[in-house]
């Protein structure tokens, strides 16, 4: 236990520091490596990046076994002594597992990038920001105080800005969307530099909310430290008395909403697809959007634990659950109609993050906090694996086909067998294919947690969750069907006729996503025990670190199901049904191709309108542009033209000049030089004085 004044230290702390410092060091030396690489054979920036990513991942890995035993490493140094603030690392089971997920997946993505980015002339900048990105994410994961987390938080935002607009020359092939398409007068076609700005500014909106939340807590607790906040909870009592605790918690969650692209700050995520695909994989699987979920996982138990002291933060958890549920459904529906493969995956990420938020939210509404908590976090891990794999595979497709549109692909299953197989494996995990994929177990755990939470909102959220699962299975099948089944598209035929041979991606590219796809299935097979392991670990973790006691539940009633004991039959059943319905519908339209989807949509006005509404992103993006871009610009222009140019510039500059000039003329007019008129004025003056004196 740590009070505010002591400085915690731990001999193993150095390994924890290294996890996040190494990527930064790598980032800093990479520009130097370019200079000396001419003289040292075999030294390339890519290899340096791989080495540092590997070292960081290995130091995270070295703590992994400790995490299973529930160790906690807390190491601090003084930072801003003038304010009494300390910097520190906190490695507990939650952060160690997260650091491993981030570290190893980033490592694979870095390996993949050596193939994907080969020959790009700005490669140094790419490596610099990739390493910066990983370092910032690890900083978020391992920091022991909110201020330091915020450093990582903004670092992640900065890196995403730099990488989303990586191809800053704004060539047409790097744009997203379709040229000329508009929704409510807003162009649906974005350049990389525009998208980078959009991402940075939109997440900044979340960031200022988070900052405000941090300030609230700091104002009452006098510390940013996570351990310190837990050690002495009188701040919470006081805040709750002034009913500021829930607002503070919700504002902190606002940061997560921005970073994790949750409703209503979800719109940046789509345009983030202008970055190189390796970047998208990193953003979606390991860094950036996962930061928000991690923050909720980091802070959720803190607010839940306050419940023991009679300070309830139920609204906080309700908001998290609902934001998650709305986002899950909203983005999944949009994934059904989009023609660009990376955008489908992006929608899918937002939607899956919604699941995680949902689980972390309902956890706080139930007495079994650990159920939802485990489910959310387990889903984070499994999503990290399969989404990284899917993105990297999509990158291969883009690399080979040279187009981001799925309509330009088609029939690739023969030409790209490995990618085809791996994409099925990872895609099945996303769909939640029963019993053999990690996605199934984690999604099932979320269903169960929601269903069993006992909250008043459980049923509507559960229905949304199942509906989303149906849609997820559908759009994933659609994606695979459009890319790999049917005949080759005209685009591919044209490429082949021009002499391009469509072939499998190079080794350095398919191995990383192959590994992840295999892992997805591999862990999926033992998925139930993996989940139980995490469950057990987190039960202890929450108990020891936060004092959240989990009552043991009699599991006997479900023994009839044999190896599935402990599973909730309703959740399991819905999960199976959702998968089969979604997959079946997808199969009919896109793999079997028995019905033409275009004809189906145009068959009646309702489907047509719905399709258009969804394709136009529910007009949310357009409304954001109208109210937060166009309107303020219009206002600023008016202010500039009619206030600054007239009242200030003309009025205070030329106006003063004229006024003085005019005044001078008036005074000049009295200087006539005629002695008589001077004498008259003098006489009038004398008369005036005399009158005043006498009257």
């Amino acid at each position: 236990m740590v009070s505010i004044d002591t400085v915690a230290s731990d001999p193993n702390g150095i390994y924890v520091w290294l996890i996040w410092l190494l990527p930064f060091i790598g980032a800093l030396i990479i520009p130097g490596v370019v200079r000396i690489s001419k003289y040292v054979p075999g030294l390339t920036t890519g290899r340096v990046a791989i080495a540092f990513a590997a070292m960081s991942a290995v130091s995270a890995g070295s703590l992994f076994l400790g995490a299973l035993d529930g160790i906690e490493i807390h190491d601090q140094i003084t930072w801003i002594s003038a304010l009494g603030l300390k910097a520190g690392v906190l490695a507990d089971p939650l952060s160690i597992i997260m650091a491993n997920v981030v570290g190893w997946i980033s490592f694979l993505i870095i390996c993949y990038s050596t193939g994907y980015m080969k020959g790009d002339k700005d490669i140094t900048r790419f490596w610099f920001w990739m390493m910066f990105f990983i370092g910032s994410m690890q900083l978020i994961v391992l920091s022991d105080n909110l201020l330091q987390i915020f450093f990582g938080w903004e670092g992640v935002g900065l890196a995403s800005y730099a990488l989303i607009s990586f191809w800053y020359r704004d060539k047409a092939k790097d744009h997203v969307g379709k040229e000329g398409r508009t929704a409510l007068g807003i162009m649906e076609y974005y350049s990389p530099t525009h998208s980078g700005m959009k991402a940075f500014i939109m997440t900044k909106v979340g960031d200022i909310m988070m900052l405000a939340g941090m300030f609230m807590i700091f104002a009452f607790a006098g510390t940013f430290g996570l351990k310190e906040l837990l050690y002495e909870t009188s701040w919470a009592v006081e805040m709750s008395a002034q009913s500021l605790l829930v607002p503070a918690a919700v504002l902190l969650f606002g940061g997560a909403v921005g970073k994790s692209a949750q409703f209503p700050l979800n719109e940046w995520l789509l345009e983030a697809m202008t970055g190189p695909t390796a970047v998208s994989a990193l953003i979606h699987a390991a860094t950036m959007v996962k930061a928000g979920v991690f923050l909720v996982a980091r802070l959720g138990p803190l607010f839940f634990a306050l419940g023991a002291a009679g300070i309830m933060a139920d609204q906080f958890f309700e908001i998290i659950a609902w934001v998650g549920a709305i986002t899950a459904l909203l983005l999944a529906t949009q994934g059904m109609v989009n023609p660009e493969i990376k955008k489908v995956l992006a929608y899918s990420t937002g939607s899956q993050i919604g699941y995680m938020m949902m689980a972390l939210g309902v956890a706080g509404l139930s007495t079994q906090y650990v159920d939802g908590y485990t489910a959310g976090f387990f889903h984070l891990i499994s999503h990290a694996m399969f989404k990284a794999s899917l993105f990297m595979a999509a990158g291969s497709l883009l690399h080979v086909v040279g187009s981001r549109f799925m309509t330009d692909m088609g029939g690739l299953r023969k030409q790209m067998r490995k990618t085809y197989a791996f994409m099925w494996a990872a895609g099945l995990a996303l769909m939640g294919a029963p019993f053999i994929t990690t996605g199934f177990w984690s999604k099932d755990a979320i269903f169960a947690a929601v269903y069993e939470s006992g909250s008043g909102w459980a049923l509507p959220i559960f229905i949304i969750a199942v509906l989303t699962a149906v849609i997820t299975a559908f759009y994933t099948t659609r994606m695979i069907g459009m890319v790999f089944f049917g005949k080759n598209s005209k685009h591919i035929e044209k490429m082949e006729s021009e002499g391009h041979h469509i072939h499998e991606a190079p080794l350095s590219m398919w191995i990383p996503y192959g590994i992840l796809a295999v892992l997805t299935i591999g862990i999926g097979v033992i998925g139930l025990s993996a989940e139980e392991g995490i469950h057990h670990l987190f039960t202890d973790y929450l108990e020891e670190s936060f004092g959240i006691h989990t009552p043991h539940i009699d599991l006997e009633h479900s023994e009839t199901l044999g190896f599935l004991s402990g599973l909730n039959p309703v959740a399991l059943g819905s999960s199976l049904v959702a998968f089969s319905v979604g997959f079946g519908l997808g199969y009919i339209f896109y793999i079997g191709r028995w019905i033409d989807p275009a004809k189906f949509i145009n068959s009646n006005i309702f489907f047509y309108a719905l399709h258009k509404l969804i394709l136009n992103r529910y007009y949310l993006n357009s409304m954001i542009y109208w109210s937060f871009v166009i309107a303020p610009l219009w206002l600023a222009r008016g202010l500039y033209r009619y206030f600054e140019r007239t009242a200030i510039d003309t009025g205070m500059n030329i106006g003063f000049e004229r006024a003085i000039g005019w005044g001078a003329k008036v005074v000049q007019g009295t200087q006539t030089g005629v002695a008589q008129s001077y004498l008259y004025v003098f006489g009038a003056g004398v008369l005036f004085v005399v009158l005043i004196l006498f009257i």
């Binding site: 930072w79 500014i201 909106v205 303020p632």
Partner: protein
């Protein structure tokens, strides 16, 4: 070291004729390094003096005004150090920029067309007429530069109202000439306008000073005790001082001169005017209002808070509308001074410390950005955003430095901008909670929102200069000379060091702010 501050202030003034002479005889390179040497020496003196805590020097002056002293305490030292660091660095940066400018003016005077062949223009460069012209002008420039520097330093070190006022005006005179001689556009008219506005502000300030000094019979800071002054005089004096300094700060309503002056001034001078000089208005508010008139400060602070908010938003909105890059930065300075004003109005130690750190940050960030503008003017030959684009590949080092400067202004960690920003916003929040004041809470929320506006105009500026498609006539642009790049790299490095380890200044600032007893 004895007389350290006396040397630091008066050495540049005394040696300025020598700088003129060296420039005339030996040319711009010698004058540059001479100026740089003097300022470097003085900077080291200031830094050295500030290392050992509060440092004071007192010298006899007339009985009428009191003592002539220099005080380098927790408040003054960050200001003093930043002013001299910037001056020193900009002395080097001035060389290529000003030589370019002199040549341009010479060509204009002698009606020489730009489009003459290369051979002829090189011949021209070596021609004796041009050489003499450049030498003369650079001597004059560096002499003025030195006087300007000492004026700014003197203001922040002074311990007496009259001394403060004298230095306050001393920095105005050389800056007037620098704009009137070396500016762009209608430079004389703009210089006059700048002079009139800031001079009128200074006179109002003087009225405030006189009303205090004549009431208590002393002008020394140490003798000013608010309780001894009748309360109606205090409030009049405080308002006069705030208005006088508000003109210097270019706070909303009094900002008219700033975009013109910053736009027209030669870029190294813009880079001094904007971050170093206008911030002295903030220094004045700290010293004269917050420290010396605490009760008046407590009463007026909420107004400063909202004035700051208005300035933040107004400056930001205007910056969005500009096409001239230097005017973007000028309005951005208005907006940033709004942050400082907001911080000063926060009525808490954190907020005040944050506001002071904001000054330092702004000096670094805006210095970098103005220097970027200078490189664009020299290397690209235009400052219109609509004619620029995609230059990141042509000016890589400039682009990196500009991005670091931009991040500093936006307040993104790990640059020093974040350190200033979170502290001043936290300070405002703290007071709002303590007082239970909804207006202050509103100001806090609006302040946070305005950071998004700041971010928008800065990112948009970056996009229009460095990213996107490159115009065809700019494909042969090259990066600036090391005289320009090295100073930028120093500032860029410093902003990151300070962002990660703000203790460098906070260790001085915080004890002072805590000592105010807020």
């Amino acid at each position: 070291m004895e007389y350290a501050l006396l040397q630091a202030v008066f050495l540049p003034l005394l040696l300025s004729p020598l700088a003129y002479y060296i420039g005339r005889v030996k040319g711009p390179t010698y004058a540059t390094w001479f100026t740089f040497g003097i300022l470097l020496y003085c900077t080291i003196l200031v830094i050295n003096a500030s290392l050992g805590g509060t440092y004071e020097e007192h010298y006899p002056w007339t009985d009428l005004f009191g003592e002539f002293g220099f005080l380098l305490d927790g408040l003054a030292s960050p200001f003093a150090i930043m002013i001299y660091v910037l001056c020193t660095i900009l002395a080097l940066y001035s060389k290529p920029y000003m030589v370019h400018k002199f040549e341009e003016v010479y060509k204009q005077i002698h009606n020489i067309k730009e489009d003459e062949s290369d051979g002829q223009s090189t011949a021209l460069l070596e021609s004796s007429g041009l050489k003499t012209y450049v030498n003369n002008q650079s001597g004059l420039y560096f002499a003025m530069f030195l006087v300007f520097s000492m004026g700014m330093l003197g203001t922040v070190l002074s311990t007496n109202l009259i001394e403060f006022y004298i230095f306050f005006e001393v920095m105005l005179i050389p800056s007037f000439f620098l704009i009137a001689w070396y500016g762009d556009g209608p430079k004389r008219r703009i210089a006059l306008m700048f002079f009139f506005w800031t001079h009128v502000g200074a006179v109002i300030l003087l009225l405030g000073f006189l009303s205090i000094g004549l009431t208590i019979g002393s002008f020394d800071f140490a003798d000013i005790d608010e309780t001894g002054i009748p309360s109606d005089v205090v409030i009049i004096a405080a308002v006069a001082i705030i208005i006088g300094l508000g003109v210097k700060l270019a706070a909303f309503g009094f900002h008219i001169w700033l975009p013109w002056a910053h736009g027209a001034a030669p870029t190294p001078i813009s880079a001094l005017l904007s971050p170093a000089m206008i911030g002295i208005g903030a220094y004045g508010l700290f010293r004269l209002i917050v420290e010396l008139l605490p009760q008046a400060y407590a009463d007026l602070s909420i107004w400063l808070n909202f004035w700051g908010i208005a300035t933040m938003f107004y400056g930001g909105a205007m910056a969005l509308m500009q096409d001239d890059i230097k005017r973007v930065f000028a309005y951005s300075s208005v907006s940033q001074m709004g942050y400082v004003l907001f911080g000063i109005g926060s009525l808490s130690a954190y907020g005040l410390a944050g506001a002071e750190l904001m000054y330092v940050t702004h000096a670094l960030g805006k210095g970098l950005l103005f220097m970027t503008a200078g490189i664009l003017i020299v290397q690209v030959g235009t400052r219109q955003l609509s004619k620029l684009g995609g230059l990141a590949s042509k000016l890589p080092i400039t682009a990196v430095c500009a991005v670091i400067g931009a991040l500093t202004i936006m307040g993104v960690p790990p640059t020093s901008g974040f350190m200033g920003e979170w502290m001043l916003f936290y300070g405002a929040f703290e007071t709002a909670v303590e007082e239970g004041n909804d207006w202050r809470m509103l100001a806090f929320a609006l302040g946070l929102i305005s950071t998004v506006l700041t971010m928008s105009y800065i990112l948009w500026m970056l996009k229009r200069v460095f990213f996107g498609k490159i115009p065809e006539n700019l494909t042969h642009v090259k990066d600036g000379s090391w005289y320009m790049l090295a100073p930028m790299m120093v500032l860029a490095g410093f902003t990151i060091v300070l962002g990660i380890y703000p203790d460098i200044f906070l260790q001085k600032i915080m004890p002072y702010m805590n000592g105010l007893g807020l």
